[in-house]
Structures are given as structure tokens and as C-alpha cells.
Symmetry: C2
Subunit: 229 residues, 2 copies
């Protein structure tokens, strides 16, 4: 299950995309941070270690929050249970919003990004990752062979809506939105797009993990950095 | 060849994405327009008919420019031969930049967008379309069958660079960039992203052309609107 993934065991260092995400982060010292979908609290602890003034770390899973709390010493971090699809946040309260691999489970992304925008003070930034829509879209998201080539068999990319997968647990529902829809929702909420990264392994990662070469065929993660002007 | 495509025979009305592009355009009345890769001049004439003050319409093809000139009466339109990979434009001279399905032939996109940015006055907009990178990326960009499903077999999406195709003519070279790279180049040049559309047929188009249903599996066109603040 989820607890045995490298990123669950080794934290940020076990997440292949972490160095790319880190390059998008602002200086966290003195910031009031909200972490949306904090899981086991790896990022919340990272932010506290970087000198964040406060970290409000939210997740839907009581089990994850229990482990997160047990592994966190910093008094700057506060964990709360929250359903991001019904998220309420105080207005003009945070300097930085962060989310890792949570928003593809959200049904109403427009509402969520409006809520985040309203919770951030002017001049804040917002960095998040999701499963790339190209990764999520297909009816059978698995490598296939076509004429001797390994390909990612894309269908239904332009048909947005729920996708049910059997990953880790049966019947998990994700909500597919195109990359364009995701960006346009951010723009409509008032964010300015600063960086869009369709993640790929670095040269160093490919040297250490030659079997990741196949990942160059399609992006697994999407990283977005934006600003609330 | 290219001359017999619906868009060449019927102009903008023969281009399936035109209504979506049109929705992104500013009011063209009184604007100084530059059209990058004007082809037979359909958009240049449209801009003139909409009241553009001037239209500088550029293309690499002498044959296309000859037909464009022959079919254009408006004195507001000026055609010039130009290689977009070596484009020079006067600074602070245009109110609107436009391009349809030309930039995927450009090797140095960074240079091109910096040149366009410098040629636009503050407050201008820039709208362009390209072949969607998902459409261009695969080594064999054709529908395939996998387990009875029609899929778009994506490989090499994260490997940017030239793609040689046999479309219309042998050995045409396109330059594949990811969607992220395209957006980041615009942002780095100073543009603000306003709208990103991974084009799909409308309900009305699907009703009129049921055979286009397959196009919902992956986007063929990418439409981008940005602003030069």
C-alpha cells in the first residue's frame, strides 16, 4: 500500500520529482504556509526546518495525520483534518500555498483555487504537483507495445471527468482535467502562471536508474508554480 | 498537397479550430497587426475586414505569398517574405501578433518570442496556434489499436527536438517542444499567459462530422493567448 512507497518510507528524498519541486519554492523563512494534502507531513516538516513561521497542514486521512503528528516536533506545524473539496480557509492569511499530488482527487478544482487565492496575501506564491493529465487520462494507463515500440496508449484525453483506478486500492476516483483546463482555472481565479513543468528524470537519475528511461515517453507528474499578484 | 486541404480551399471557415481561435482575438479595429506565417493570407484579410489599421503578413513561401497577394485587395495588408527563425521586427510597433500553425516548424522558439515581445507595445496581445505537442511527439503519429481500443501511441514526449514527417511532403522537419517548454519560453520573454486551449471539436462539429469523435482521444491543436503587459 501507500505506506511502502519509496516516498512514504524515505520522504521527500524518495520522491523522484522533489528536486524539481524544490527549485520552484520561494524562500520559506518567516512564511505562513498552508500545505494542502500533507500526507505524512514530510513537506510540513521541511517548511518548518526552513524557518517557516507557521505551517497549516491539511489532509483527509486521519491515519496519515496521526503518523504525521507523531513524527513532527516543531511547534510551528499544525495538522488538521480537511476535505479539499469542501475547503474553507481564512482570507488573506498565508504567504505560500503548497500541494503535492493531491489535486487530481479533487472534483471541483475551480472552487478550490478560488479558495486558495482568497487565502493568500498579495505577492504570495503557490506551487503544486499533480499526476500529469496525460498519465491519468487513458482508460488503461499502462505501457503497451505497438509495432515493437513501447508507447503510452492515450485515449479520452479531451473527455474530462472521473477516472477510476485500481492503484493501491480498488475504486480510487481521480478527476481528469486537461492541462489547459487546469491552467485556465488558475488564471480565472487571478493567479499568474510562472512555471509549468512536465516532469522528467534528470540525467543523474537516469544514470542511477537506467530502467527509468521509459519515463521519457510521457510525463508522470505536472509541476505548476504561480503567483497571486 | 497543402492547396487542397479544406482550410486552403475554404479559408478560415475550413479550419476546424477557427471559431475557438476567433474567441481569443481582441477587437482588431485600428490595430497594427503582424501575422507570422500568413500562408494564403486568410487571416490577414480577416484582420483588414475587421478594421485593422495595418497588417504585416509574413511567410517563407513565395508561392503562398503570390497567391495571397493576388487574393488581397485591402491596402492595409502588406506581404513580405520572412524566415521566422531569423525574424527581425521593428521594436514597439505592433498592437497584436498572430500566428496559425507555423511555430512548430521553428527551431529557436525562445529567440522568436523575444523578438515578438520586443515588437509589441505594452498592453498588446498575442494569439497563436501550433500542432499540439502530444500530436507531434510520437515516432509514429498515427492511430493504433491496443486491446480493441483506438489509441494515440505516445512515445518520446519528453525528448524535445526535430521530428521528421511525411505529411504532404517528404522530410518536413518539425520541432517538438513540450507544452511546458512552450509556456515557459513565453513567460521568460515577458508574456503573461491568458488562455491555454487544447482544442477539441465542439458538440455541433461532432454532430456534423460523427467521424471526428476519434479526435477526442488527443488534441491536434494547441491555442495560446497571452498578453504583453
Amino acid at each position: 500500500g501507500y505506506s511502502s512507497l519509496p516516498r512514504s518510507v524515505h520522504g521527500l528524498a524518495g520522491a523522484a520529482e522533489w528536486e524539481s519541486v524544490r527549485a520552484l519554492l520561494p524562500d520559506l523563512a518567516g512564511r505562513r504556509v498552508v500545505d494542502l494534502g500533507c500526507g505524512f507531513g514530510w513537506f510540513a516538516r521541511h517548511a518548518a526546518a526552513e524557518g517557516a513561521k507557521s505551517v497549516l497542514a491539511l489532509d483527509l486521512s486521519e491515519n496519515m495525520l496521526a503518523r504525521a503528528k507523531a513524527e513532527t516536533q516543531s511547534p510551528a506545524v499544525r495538522y488538521e483534518i480537511a476535505d479539499l473539496d469542501r475547503l474553507e480557509l481564512p482570507k488573506d492569511t498565508f504567504d505560500f500555498a503548497y500541494s503535492s499530488l493531491a489535486f487530481h482527487y479533487i472534483a471541483d478544482f475551480d472552487r478550490l483555487v478560488r479558495t486558495i487565492h482568497a487565502a493568500l496575501v498579495p505577492g504570495s506564491s503557490f506551487v503544486f504537483t499533480i499526476e500529469h493529465p496525460l498519465y491519468m487520462a487513458p482508460s488503461a494507463p499502462n505501457w503497451a507495445e505497438v509495432d515493437g515500440r513501447t508507447v503510452w496508449p492515450v485515449d479520452g484525453y479531451l473527455v474530462e471527468g472521473p477516472r477510476t483506478t485500481e492503484w493501491l486500492a480498488k475504486g480510487v476516483v481521480k478527476h481528469h482535467r486537461t492541462l489547459g483546463t487546469t491552467l485556465n482555472a488558475l488564471i480565472a481565479a487571478g493567479f499568474v502562471i510562472r512555471h509549468v513543468e512536465e516532469w522528467k528524470p534528470s540525467e543523474a537519475q537516469l544514470a542511477a536508474h537506467p530502467e527509468w528511461q521509459v519515463e521519457l515517453n510521457r510525463p508522470m507528474f505536472l509541476l505548476i508554480a504561480c503567483e497571486r499578484p
